[in-house]
């Protein structure tokens, strides 16, 4: 066996643990082989699987006039991808255009009523807890993971580490840089504040989709 194959074999248990722990907190986990698959997944989630809707989640409820007012604004299906390389962003943008979706990487503050999909690439992933780590000092990248209904996150398999301590040096590097905003994200936004009954999507994403990219 060459070195690469050996390394990959060592990583497999981490990948499996990551998948198991993420699924335990209701994330959807898929294995992909190239970035194109991630783009196809996001576009399919938006269109084919009906993830993108003009009606924003919660807007079907009986709301106060002020809250209802914010519901009326959305009139397009939006995928936001603020942290991608130029090449990858173009690839996603093309696919969105083909389907008639809006693809964004800036100006998210004009869409605070909500967007459909936030598309990101994780800087690190932690197997022990099924967590993705995003270094996101940029406001648009941060917002895209907060105001979306679905968060699709690409996880490079080589960036999965055992636990936070195994990535301590990287984490410290993120946290020492000013300004800095380092986000650990594990599953969807959740609450159990009413009668301890678990409900997903209280403020942030209703679903998290993790796409493990073999690299």
């Amino acid at each position: 066996m060459d070195n690469g194959a050996e390394e990959q074999k060592e990583r497999q248990p981490l990948r499996e643990q990551f998948r198991e722990m993420a699924e335990a907190v209701s994330a959807t986990v898929r294995q992909i082989h190239d970035f194109g698959e991630a783009v196809a997944y996001a576009v399919d989630l938006c269109g084919g699987r009906g993830g993108c809707r003009l009606a924003i989640s919660g807007c079907e409820e009986k709301l106060s006039r002020a809250a209802d007012g914010l519901c009326r604004i959305k009139d397009e299906k939006i995928i936001a991808a603020a942290g991608l390389s130029e090449k990858r962003y173009r690839e996603l943008e093309r696919s969105c255009a083909n389907q008639g979706f809006t693809c964004l990487r800036s100006g998210l503050r004009s869409h605070l009523e909500g967007i459909d999909i936030g598309f990101t690439v994780a800087d690190l992933a932690i197997a022990e807890t099924g967590t993705v780590v995003l270094d996101c000092p940029g406001e648009d990248l941060r917002l895209s993971t907060m105001i979306c209904e679905y968060h699709v996150c690409v996880v490079n398999q080589s960036r999965i580490v055992k636990d936070a301590f195994a990535a301590e040096a990287r984490l410290k590097e993120f946290m020492s840089r000013a300004p800095g905003y380092t986000a650990f994200i594990t599953g969807a936004s959740r609450t159990a504040d009413i009668e301890r009954v678990l409900a997903l999507g209280v403020h942030g994403p209703l679903e998290v989709h993790l796409l493990i990219l073999e690299d």
């Binding site: 907190v25 941060r142 984490l171 993120f174 000013a178 300004p179 959740r190 504040d193």
Partner: protein, 718 residues
């Protein structure tokens, strides 16, 4: 928010909770689910090691607190944050209101912060004509209801979906159903609109990391991320105890905090913020960021030899989750602002003796909190320490002084107990219960039958007890404690028969007295110390291998607390440690030292269950020994649900709070009855007093015995 003026009013307030069926059921379900969830989350790890890591990190931070504050301040200010230090709650609120004014703020959104609850920040902001909206779902609910939190992590755990539905109907002006998922969606949209309008966000912080100048926020809902991202101003208010030296310290705490709080491996979000981040609407695109550190009594605690442990608290709320009293009365009655065991302590330092004096009585000393504390804080001991402080700051009430004096004078104490026997004789029935309660008891004590003082105490029976040949080479001293000496001497006699049969040489030093736990619980530190010295001296003459006691509470007090009580005294401290090393509870001695085996017993396979006394299972960490003895003795042993949960006795607790004691007892007896056992065994005369009294009152045929009595009755050689 507990704010009763005296104990009587406090008890009346607690009745409201006891009558709240929804609350009781919710907290019951939660108590059971929490234990299972926590165990699962910690399963892959050595919990003790993780807790020790937290304690080490927090202890280091405490000892370097001034230096870490300056390091953090320098780093954070280099990164564009303004760092403030507030001596007390009023000062913190003033700083924050001033920040709002300077920046022309009209609307503030908040994510959950216990520190902001502590300073009553919302009131100050509203007084400053600011609109304030809590965005954590539970906090928003209680804000709308004008209530305080009833749990540190789940602030609205006391409310039902119907109450929330009604509340949201009022808030939206539209009829809402009670479907939780829908209510959550309503909150999502209602609050989103607030996020969009707000111009200042206030958060707490779980960590302030000195080496990076970053703060860390641990949340599930994601509201804190919006609070720290959308408005142009961010203020984080945190206790100075949130400082840690390094990122690795924060990660160690993070490993324990969610697991211990809710049984989650990690929360949905952990956000680490360094410096003034990018923010569109702020001038120059840079968020105006302020970090406010609050002292408010924390530095006084840090400098105190006993209370400095409080710095290890990570505000996980676990001490409430396992507390049998919290489970009965909920957070509004089990805290002023901070809740649970830690709340009893923090209230004293943050809000003063007036707020803490009643609250701090509400601890049954079962040590369940100590066992699950994320920082390994000895919470029951600190609660006793607060009681001592209150006594010293105010004045010692007469009954306390009398008891302290009486206990320290063994002869006087024992004379009083003998007199009690003579006084009770006319009212005692043939089974050893008092038929009618003497006048000193109130009607609330009627939930259990109370035993009469025995006709002759163990100390009078000792000369007539057969001591056996004593040929095994083992020599033990018997420590009876008050209850077994004067109420249940037959339990000691049973143990003596077993020891004699096994050739154990025994001595019974006559100058031994009460172990001192009751005065320690009251906060009568000096009396507790004097009694400890008297007992250590009583046992130092005979050259003993072990000091055996049949009372779990005495055993844990002698073994664990004596060395702590006498730690500061060089000569007595050493004697206390030597004494403590010899102390052993009955079951551990019979099982681990004597090694009693099945072959030594005979008898039918009668169904039996075991109640684990708090001070046996948690105080001494003994779990297996009594169960293995019961099996060896040929009983059909059945484990009861929650067998390690308190029976509600708690010594003086059952006298101060009879209503609570009765409820806890009844829950315990239901679990015992579910096993179908006809015999209930336990290792503590206090528990026996409580359990026997309760069963008798229910008219139950279940017999309660000390494990020693059950074994002696079945031992062939006895």
């Amino acid at each position: 928010m507990q704010d009763a003026k005296d104990l009587k009013e406090y008890r009346r307030q607690m009745h409201e909770s006891l009558d709240n069926e929804f609350l009781r059921k919710t907290l019951d379900t939660f108590a059971v689910a929490y234990r299972a969830g926590r165990a699962k989350a910690f399963a892959p790890f050595d919990v003790a090691e993780l807790v020790a890591d937290v304690a080490r990190s927090k202890d280091e931070a405490r000892s370097r607190i001034g230096e870490l504050y300056l390091e953090f301040k320098r780093k954070a200010e280099e990164a564009g944050v303004k760092v403030h230090f507030a001596a007390d709650a009023a000062e913190a609120n003033e700083v924050i209101v001033a920040i709002a004014r300077e920046n022309g703020v009209k609307m503030v959104i908040k994510s959950k912060s216990m520190t902001a609850e502590e300073t009553l920040l919302n009131h100050a902001l509203e007084d400053g004509d600011l609109e304030v909206v809590e965005t954590d779902l539970g906090e928003w609910i209680i804000q709308l209801r004008h209530e305080g939190p009833s749990h540190m992590v789940m602030p609205a755990i006391h409310l039902s979906r119907y109450q929330v539905g009604e509340l949201f109907t009022r808030v939206t002006g539209k009829e809402q159903q009670s479907d939780i998922e829908k209510l959550v969606k309503v909150a999502r949209r209602e609050l989103r609109e607030k996020f969009v309008r707000a111009d200042m966000g206030i958060t707490g912080a779980n960590f302030a990391v000195a080496e990076t100048g970053a703060i860390g926020l641990v949340t599930n809902e994601g509201n804190a991320r919006l609070v720290t991202t959308l408005p142009r101003v961010h203020v984080a208010l945190m206790g100075i105890d949130k400082l840690v030296a390094r990122t690795t310290d924060a990660l160690k705490i993070l490993k324990v905090l969610p697991r211990n709080a809710t049984g989650q491996n990690i929360t949905s979000y952990v956000s680490w913020i360094t410096g003034a981040n990018e923010c569109g609407p702020a001038q120059g695109g840079k968020k105006i960021t302020h970090f406010v550190f609050l002292d408010n009594g924390r530095l006084e605690m840090a400098a105190d030899p006993l209370f400095s442990q409080v710095f290890r608290c990570v505000r996980c709320g676990a001490c409430a989750n396992v507390c049998p009293v919290y489970r009965l009365v909920g957070g509004h009655k089990m805290g002023h602002i901070y809740i649970g065991a830690i709340g009893l302590i923090l209230t004293h330092f943050f809000h003063g003796a007036q707020k803490s004096k009643n609250l701090v009585q509400n601890c049954i000393n079962c040590e369940a909190c100590k066992e699950v504390c994320a920082g390994g804080i000895d919470l029951p001991r600190l609660i006793q320490g607060v009681r001592a402080r209150i006594l010293d700051e105010t004045k010692h009430p007469l009954p306390n002084l009398l008891l302290g004096k009486v206990l320290a004078n063994r002869k006087l104490f024992h004379t009083l107990l003998r007199t009690a026997n003579r006084a009770e004789r006319p009212v005692a029935d043939h089974e050893g219960f008092i038929r009618h309660l003497p006048m000193i008891f109130f009607k609330e004590h009627d939930y259990k039958a109370v035993p009469a003082v025995a006709r002759s105490p163990f100390r009078d029976r000792w000369p007539g007890i057969s001591k056996g040949p004593g040929t095994s080479g083992l020599k033990v001293g018997l420590f009876t404690g008050c209850v077994q000496d004067f109420v249940y001497p037959e339990q000691m006699e049973a143990a003596a028969r077993i020891f004699a049969a096994r050739g154990v040489a025994m001595s019974f030093p006559m100058s031994q007295s009460c172990c001192g736990l009751p005065v320690q619980m009251m906060g009568e530190t000096q009396a507790a110390r004097n009694v400890a010295v008297q007992n250590i001296r009583a046992f130092e003459k005979d050259n003993l291998d072990h000091i055996v006691t049949l009372c779990a509470s005495c055993a844990s007090h002698l073994k664990i607390n004596y060395p702590v009580i006498l730690d500061g005294e060089s000569k007595m401290g050493e004697k206390a440690r030597a004494f403590a090393a010899k102390v052993i509870d009955f079951s551990s001695f019979a099982n681990d030292v004597l090694g009693l085996e099945a072959g030594e017993f005979s008898g039918e396979a009668v169904r039996a269950t075991f109640h684990a006394p708090c001070h046996l299972c948690r105080g001494l960490g003994v779990h297996e020994a009594p169960r293995s003895l019961i099996r060896a003795a040929g009983f059909d042993f059945r484990e009861a649900d929650e067998s390690e949960v308190c029976c509600g006795f708690g010594g003086t607790f059952s006298i101060k709070f009879p209503e609570l004691s009765a409820r806890i007892l009844n829950k315990k007896l239901e679990k015992v009855e579910e096993t179908g056992a006809s015999i209930l065994l336990t290792d503590c005369p206090g528990c026996i007093l409580q359990l026997r009294g309760g069963l008798r009152k229910r008219g139950s045929p279940i017999r309660v015995m000390h494990t020693a009595e059950a074994l002696a009755a079945r031992m062939r050689k006895v």
